[in-house]
């Protein structure tokens, strides 16, 4: 028995070491030095989920970072030096992301660190940056738990250039609450994936809609890692709610609910998901353009944004990767914004001293990005971000809320039947 255990332990350790080596081998660049001469490139380190559960988002983030590096180098670089991105694959693993940032800082000697994808990975990653005195500028760690993590409360080194997610569904809840009683939905369901990103905005929405008289018929959290969401979706469909507010983290979660709803002959009048529908063609190719119609999602950016910087980025993206503005994953803009904010901080401080960069970013200055203005509060949340609700309408991803805001078009209500 003990020899069997020893054997399993050996195999387990071997597998862990092997996988760690494989992860490290997927580095996107070479190492750097501690005090590079002025001619050497500025090294920027990031851990990205190139494989694993977040791989679709991780790959989109990589595109955003690369696009920014390409642009900044084309315009002469930072402080007159070229910029080089060094990225390691974290396989969507919170343990590996810690190892990766330790490697980037201690071995690769990067000058700046950029964030990974997801709140789940940002929280442990930012702790490594805090211990080493690095500013941690990121674009996809908007959950409240990221900002209230003890390392950030002490070091104040996290800076999320995107939308803080806790309030991201507020325009949606406000819209529903403002409808005349005769048009207002009567019932709502709130299925949520067990994830720090997915739950807070949905729970806030539930509380707001209940106050507006919308009865909750289903509110449950399901495990984020199960391969099959059909039972939860079937249970929601059985309640026949007017509104479904889905606390999703990715495309397959939304896809599974859509498929189960179709099988159960149930179409919600209003369907919004916390994440998934914002992933452009990655979403429509999985669920079908017809089925996407009427589905909403909160975000701060979309491919059709009138922001001139965004339009420039979209044009460059399409030139390289082809497709349409609606097909661009919002992760690309989030990653690109990280680079833009870092660029402004480095330029303003005229150096790569992270303590000065942290001080500058906390100075109350308003910065710009493809997602709009960026202004950090004491915990690094972007207080200047504007929340929008977007909707798929006939294959196009359009802004619909707040109603009357610049760029908003008429909301498609009720949602069309499944195709």
């Amino acid at each position: 028995m003990s020899s069997h255990r020893a054997r399993f332990l050996t195999i387990g350790i071997s597998a862990a070491v092997l996988s760690a080596m494989l992860a490290a081998c997927s580095s996107g660049g070479s190492g750097g030095s501690n005090s590079p001469p002025a001619t050497k490139p500025i090294l920027i380190g990031a851990s990205l989920s190139l494989t694993g559960d977040f791989s679709a988002d991780g790959q989109a983030f990589l595109r955003g970072y690369k696009l920014w590096v390409q642009d900044v180098n084309a315009s002469g670089g930072l402080l007159g030096r070229q910029v080089k991105l060094i990225y390691l694959n974290d396989r969507s693993d919170p343990g590996q992301v810690v190892t990766n940032y330790t490697t980037l800082i201690s071995t690769k000697h990067v000058d700046l660190t950029f964030g990974p994808f997801s709140s789940l990975l940002t929280t442990p990653a930012s702790g490594v940056a805090a211990r080493n005195g690095y500013a941690f500028i990121e674009g996809a760690g908007g959950a409240p738990s990221v900002f209230t993590a003890p390392p950030n409360e002490q070091a104040h080194n996290v800076f999320d250039v995107s939308l803080p997610i806790a309030d991201e569904l507020v325009p949606f809840a406000n819209w529903l609450s403002s409808l005349p009683a005769s048009q207002r939905p009567k019932t709502a369901a709130y299925p949520m994936a067990d994830d720090p990103f997915a739950d807070p905005p949905v729970q806030l929405t539930q509380s707001m809609l209940q106050k507006a008289g919308v009865k909750t018929v289903y509110s449950k959290i399901f495990p984020a890692e199960v391969p099959d969401y059909a039972p939860a979706a079937t249970n929601v469909a059985a309640k026949n709610p007017d509104v479904v507010v889905l606390g999703s983290t990715d495309v397959p979660t939304v896809g599974a609910f859509i498929k189960a709803f179709q099988q159960q002959h149930y179409t919600p009048r209003i369907f919004i998901a916390a994440a998934g529908p914002d992933q452009g063609t990655a979403f429509t190719s999985a669920v079908g353009v017809g089925n996407a119609s009427g589905i909403m999602v909160p975000n701060a950016w979309y491919g059709g944004s009138p922001n001139p910087e965004s339009q420039k980025m979209v044009a460059e993206y399409i030139k390289i990767y082809h497709g349409t503005p609606s097909g661009i994953n919002a992760d690309v803009a989030e990653a690109y914004s990280v680079g833009q904010v870092a660029q402004q901080a480095v330029t303003a401080t005229n150096g790569l001293v992270n303590s000065k960069i942290i001080q500058f970013l906390h100075s109350g200055v308003t910065l710009h990005s493809v997602q709009g203005p960026v202004k950090f509060d004491s915990l690094g949340r972007n207080g200047a971000a504007t929340t929008f609700i977007f909707q798929w309408q006939n294959g196009k991803f359009v802004q619909v809320l707040p109603a009357g805001a610049a760029g908003s078009v008429k909301i498609l209500n009720p949602k069309p039947a499944w195709k």
Partner: protein, 293 residues
């Protein structure tokens, strides 16, 4: 409550059929080769992608496509066994096979990423989103077909193992590899063919998985492997019929828990495994019993 419970049982039984399709190859391979095939989850996804290619590019019906994907996966399985598993010898063979199959999983996953990228895809057909109404419940066609396919494949494997000369060689190898060699069984051939059959059956599981879920990408197999391993351990390692029974049982338990608190379903899934193993350490159809069938 009665309606909810009935719906949960239906979901569990139908979902169990799908899991049996994915697990039966795993237990067959273990039964004959004493190998825990960590690559099984990725094999499921490989099967799903092969169906995807035939469906999207050749417009072949998903079930018709199995006529191509099952033999293709059989060939892939034989190649993997000959290249990665057969060279392993000695007392560490079983444990080393964990690493070998993990390497196979990483290689296949890497190739799938290169070919298909990280974005999720799904398998489509007219019946995938449709259901039949029965006693007030909507039963998805794809789940019904998947369950039927699972029963047919388990029965076919049973007949192959217990009614054919090849099956006798397989069972002899399962019971005692050395003794089987002494009586003239070509155990290397049996091992390669059995591995091939185990992987070939997984093609059907992959197709049903890809069609019934919300989408898959090259990484999706890793969420499956721990559950598949739990199912075949519960069934009794090596038991073909047990894989179907255990899948239906576990998925039904999970589905019933979903009614009250979905976040507990995974906990209950593994707790049920522990409880059953405390009562029957060798699983429902324990290894000895399975081999003596």
């Amino acid at each position: 409550m009665g309606t909810e419970l009935a719906r949960a049982v239906i979901n569990g039984v139908l979902g169990g059929g799908i899991y049996a399709l994915m697990a039966v190859g795993l237990t067959l391979i273990f039964g004959v080769l004493d190998i825990i095939n960590i690559a099984q989850g990725v094999m499921v996804i490989l099967g799903a992608y092969l169906s995807y290619v035939l469906s999207v590019h050749l417009h072949l019906d998903l079930f018709l496509g199995l006529l191509i994907t099952v033999p293709a996966m059989f060939v892939i399985g034989v190649i993997i066994q000959v290249a990665f598993i057969r060279p392993l010898h000695g007392s560490e063979r079983t444990s080393m096979s964990l690493l070998a199959s993990y390497a196979v999983a990483i290689i296949i996953e890497g190739v799938l990423y290169l070919v298909f990228g990280p974005n999720y895809v799904t398998l489509n057909a007219s019946y995938v989103t449709k259901s039949v109404a029965l006693l007030g419940f909507h039963l998805p066609y794809i789940d019904l077909y998947g369950f039927g396919l699972a029963v047919v494949l388990v029965a076919a494997l049973y007949l192959l193992l217990y009614r054919t000369r090849f099956g006798r060689s397989v069972r002899a190898t399962m019971q005692d590899r050395t003794a089987a060699m002494l009586v003239g069984v070509d155990v290397n051939r049996v091992a390669a063919l059995t591995y091939g059959i185990g992987v070939a059956v997984t093609a059907a599981g992959g197709m049903i998985f890809g069609a019934s879920g919300g989408g898959f990408n090259p990484n999706s197999g890793y969420d499956l492997i721990s559950r598949l391993l739990a199912l075949i351990i519960l069934a009794g390692l090596g038991s073909i019929g047990g894989a179907l029974v255990a899948s239906v049982f576990m998925l039904t338990v999970e589905s019933i828990v979903d009614i009250w608190q979905p976040s507990w379903s995974i906990v209950v899934f593994y707790a049920a495994l522990v409880i059953v193993l405390l009562v029957r350490p060798a699983g429902i159809f324990g290894r000895q019993a399975a081999r003596a069938q």
